[in-house]
């Protein structure tokens, strides 16, 4: 009888040891963010997360890649947004993950500047180079992009377009930091941040016929980003009139409609 008991104990221990064997896939931890979409190709899964539902303009995204259900910890991840509407096919500006090592939660941090809204036509391509197996695969994750009017595409020269992106914020009465991003593209697929533009920003209330004082024109902070300050004197519908000039494109105008609460 004692032999049978010891045999049972040994079997249980063996069972536990097998369950924790490094050769078994560990269930990936739950991500405390909003899952935007995911897709799998040849055993590689790309999961795209965000803090909030994605919309036009600047969207910080978080990508987790898994191979056969196991989160990769050493992979080169490249994000390639793509919009194909048949008659139009283009990408948009991206800030790629900086490192091949994900953060402590297993996420690769990146950002995408979606240039227009669409519920069906955007895909976020995630190119994965698995350093462990030296395998490269691209997984296309469909995403839905809602409208918010934060992006203005302005023709520069005949062959260039400037993409002005207003960083969304919870606009409030008083002085607000206002951030714009400026990218330049010639073909719609390659985008270059513009850091040498001169920006002038004028907040107005068209329904009231006035603006405000104390505003600070945006200046470059690098990476295509510009930061200024706008004084919203009351709640309601405001308009930001942005005028930009570069050496190649003397005057570029963009207007943004925002609501101050």
């Amino acid at each position: 009888m004692n032999i049978l008991r010891w045999l049972l104990v040994v079997l249980v221990l063996l069972s536990v040891v097998r369950c924790t064997s490094p050769t078994d896939p560990t269930p990936p931890p739950t991500i405390d963010k909003l899952l935007i979409g995911s897709a799998t190709d040849v055993g590689y899964t790309a999961e795209v997360y965000a803090n909030v539902a994605i919309a036009e303009g600047y969207n910080p995204l978080f990508v987790r890649v898994l191979h056969n259900g196991v989160a990769l910890s050493d992979a080169h991840v490249t994000v390639i947004p793509d919009m194909d509407m048949g008659t139009m096919h283009h990408s948009c500006p991206v800030v790629q993950p900086k490192d091949s090592i994900p953060d402590s939660t297993g996420l690769y941090n990146c950002a995408v500047f979606f240039t227009m809204p669409s519920a069906t036509d955007w895909k976020v391509g995630v190119a994965i180079h698995d350093h462990r197996t030296d395998t490269t695969v691209t997984v296309h994750v469909p995403v839905s992009v809602s409208a918010n009017g934060n992006v203005r595409i302005v023709q520069g020269t005949a062959s260039t377009k400037f993409i002005f992106t207003l960083l969304s914020d919870s606009w409030k009465v008083g002085m607000n930091d206002v951030k714009f991003n400026v990218y330049l593209t010639t073909d719609g697929f390659d985008h270059t941040p513009v850091d040498d533009a001169s920006l002038k920003m004028v907040p107005t209330m068209p329904s009231m016929g006035h603006g405000s004082m104390g505003n600070v024109h945006p200046t470059s902070t690098g990476g295509g980003w510009y930061t200024g300050r706008a004084n919203f004197t009351m709640t309601g519908d405001w308009q930001l009139d942005l005028t930009a000039s570069t050496i190649d494109a003397p005057t570029l105008n963009a207007k943004y409609q925002i609501v101050v609460h």
Binding site: K172, G174, S207, H210, T235
Partner: protein, 668 residues
């Protein structure tokens, strides 16, 4: 109107008697005191005259100019070309601040004539007891119940043909040797008024309730404590000259005062008070076409709400000896003020908006005034006066701070500032009843919270939008008054003149050129440099016969912004009045003629205004008092139905046309 206000003393050159042990001496002050209830005065040279049913009427009798925005309601006091923060207006020394940022509810709008005992007007920069001013001080003294008086009630009912204006007053008071009580209620109501051209001025009616309760306790042989509470509520007050009307204006005013006689030389008074004012206005009663087509902010409704609260302490002490009178006043106040405006576009696709006009402004001020009068000889009195104020100013609303901080990034929104005024006067008796006097004053006043922090305030007359400036400097003035007067039983007259130069004159300074857009220009409060004011005042009363007296007065003011070479705005032209009073105690009659010259000397840049034509108006009054307890009064104001407007009437709102008035007052 039954309550008849009198000019009890046209100018009291020999009015204030300070009693020492066995000496009565005469102190000369240049002050106009108007009795709110003339029936309490004896029948004398300055006999009861002139119908007066409102504080506005009372202020006119006191020589004040009213900046008028409504029909006999809430006139803004002005004197000597000074207005707003340049003069000090108080109720029993208490500061009450308007809650409306568009000046629709000056503090005087929250008291009724039945709350008052007297109106004291000081016009020579010597009265610094209750606040800094550049030369004008107006103080209403509140009515107090009296000890050892039988129960007395008064019912006063009157009506006028114009605007169907009606007034009801009920008052009961009485006192034992130790305690006295008084309660009074006033209702005033009016429909739309008719001007002298026969047209009805739409949205010019109002309704107003006022309740006052007061008490007096004798707490010792030399001490008493009084308490007063006034609740005032006005509803649906039309402001035809403006773009909005008052929906509700209410005030609660309370004070407790301890008066003590320490010796025959020393008296003290300590008052603790608080008041709150809530004002709401809107344009809901305006026709849609007006909303759609007005020049300023068309196509939207814009209700506004404002509140102020004031807490204060006044400690007054006086030492009076045979040759000296020393008075010290410590005056502390704390003000909290907020005002907001909502904008609701007719176009529902446009978001509603909210604007903060005053974001929880806080102003705490502690002032000390000292005056010393000394009888140098039997004929010569000199007087020194000074006041020092220290004031902290800030705004608490974080979003409003952010907005204003954006406009004025270099300005300190949390300021500690001060002001110092001083004056010296000499009064000389040339012969019995004949005096000359002169006052030299250096005055200083701090900007008001509206001048500092008011944001996006609309001036409908000049069609400008003004924005306060948190780093405004104080206004400072030098002034010189000279005058002479004579008084005996049958004749009194006075002639006086004054000049005043004001540095850092605060006004709305143009900041944006909107001439091409048609939008109202935006102006920021600032200094327009130096401004000069000068004026004269002459008045006389003569008793022609024992039953017939005549009064006449004429005054004129001249003002100019020297630095920018522009006449000062809202300066009344030369004005004159003649009164003939006949009768005796039972039956009295009065004919009064008021006339004003044209004002063609107008501001074109400081606060653009237009010229005003000359006008004249005549009033007649008959009062019958068959028994002491009953008085019946009939009068007609603007007998000739003249169509006119005063120069200080905003947007040229016409004055009332002819009105027949009938009133009955009974005392029980």
């Amino acid at each position: 109107m039954i309550v008849v206000a009198t000019i009890a003393s046209i100018i009291l050159f020999t009015a204030t008697a300070a009693r020492s042990q066995d000496t009565v001496r005469t102190i000369v002050v240049r002050e106009v005191v108007v009795e709110a209830d003339p029936l309490l005065k004896s029948w004398r040279l300055n006999r009861p005259l002139s119908s007066s049913g409102s504080v506005d009427d009372l202020m006119r009798l006191g020589g004040l100019t009213l900046i008028q925005r409504a029909n006999g309601f809430a006139g803004e006091a002005s004197m000597l070309g000074l207005r707003g923060g340049q003069m000090n207006t108080s109720i029993d020394g208490m500061k009450i601040h308007a809650a409306c940022v568009d000046k629709m509810d000056p503090s005087t709008a929250y008291v009724e004539i039945d709350n008052l005992s007297t109106l004291d007007v000081s016009s020579d920069a010597t009265d610094l007891r209750y606040g800094q001013n550049l030369g004008g001080s107006v103080n209403f003294t509140l009515k107090q119940p009296a000890l050892n008086t039988p129960v007395r009630s008064v019912i006063d009912v009157s009506g006028e043909s114009n605007a169907s204006m009606r007034r009801l007053r009920a008052d009961v008071s009485g006192g034992t040797p130790d305690i006295a009580l008084r309660a009074g209620y006033t209702l005033r109501s009016a429909d739309d008024m008719r001007s002298g051209d026969g047209s009805t001025i739409a949205l010019s009616g109002f309704t107003k309730h006022n309740l006052q309760v007061g008490s007096l306790w004798k707490v010792g042989d030399h001490d008493n404590v009084s308490a007063v509470l006034i609740a005032d509520l006005a509803t649906d007050v039309g402001y035809p000259a403006l773009i909005m009307d008052t929906r509700k204006a209410q005030a609660l005013i309370g004070a407790v005062t301890w008066r003590s006689v320490w010796s025959s030389f020393v008296t003290t008074s300590t008052k603790v008070y608080a008041n709150s004012v809530d004002h709401s206005m809107d344009d809901y009663d305006r026709p849609l076409s007006e909303i759609q087509n007005r020049a300023f902010m068309p196509n939207m409704y814009m209700p506004m709400v404002g509140t102020t609260a004031v807490y204060g302490l006044i400690v007054e002490s006086a030492y009076a000896a045979s040759e000296d009178i020393l008075k010290v006043v410590i005056d502390g106040t704390y003000l909290a003020a907020t005002a907001t405006m909502n904008m609701m576009p007719l176009d529902t696709t446009v978001s509603s908006m909210q604007l903060t006009n005053i974001g929880d402004a806080r102003v705490g001020t502690l002032g000390t005034s000292v005056s010393w009068e000394r009888l140098l000889t039997e004929d010569l009195t000199i007087r020194f006066g000074t006041r020092v104020d220290v004031s902290s100013r800030t705004i608490k609303d974080e979003q409003f701070r952010s907005v204003l901080g954006g406009y004025f990034p270099d300005a300190d929104l949390d300021r500690l500032t001060g002001a110092l005024s001083a004056n010296v006067s000499a009064y000389y008796t040339i012969a019995e009843g004949l005096n000359v006097w002169s006052v030299l004053a250096r005055s200083e006043r701090m900007p008001t919270h509206l001048e500092l922090y008011g944001f996006w305030l609309y001036d409908p007359q000049a069609n400008i939008v003004t924005i306060g400036r948190p780093d405004l400097s104080n206004e400072q003035a030098w002034s010189l008054d000279i005058g002479t007067s004579y008084r005996d039983e049958d004749l009194s007259f006075s002639i006086s003149g004054w000049i005043r130069t004001i540095n850092n004159y605060i006004a709305a300074v143009p900041t944006t050129d909107t001439s091409t857009t048609g939008e109202p220009p935006t102006r920021t409060m600032g200094s327009i440099g130096t401004a000069d004011l000068a004026g004269f005042d002459a008045r006389a009363t003569v008793r022609v016969l024992p039953w017939w007296s005549m009064q006449a007065s004429v005054r004129g003011i001249w003002g100019v912004g020297v630095t920018i070479d522009d006449p000062l705005p809202l300066i009344a032209p030369v004005q004159a009045s003649i009164r003939a009073v006949v009768g005796e105690r039972v039956l009295q009659g009065e004919l009064a003629v008021f006339a004003s010259a044209a004002q063609n000397r107008i501001s074109r840049s400081i606060l653009p205004e237009d010229a005003t034509a000359s006008w004249a108006r005549a009033d007649v009054l008959i009062a019958w008092r068959p028994i002491t307890e009953l008085r019946i009064q009939a009068s007609c104001t603007n007998v000739l139905d003249a169509f006119y407007h005063e120069h200080t009437s905003i947007n040229n709102m016409p004055s009332r046309g002819r009105s027949f008035n009938l009133g009955v007052r009974a005392e029980l």
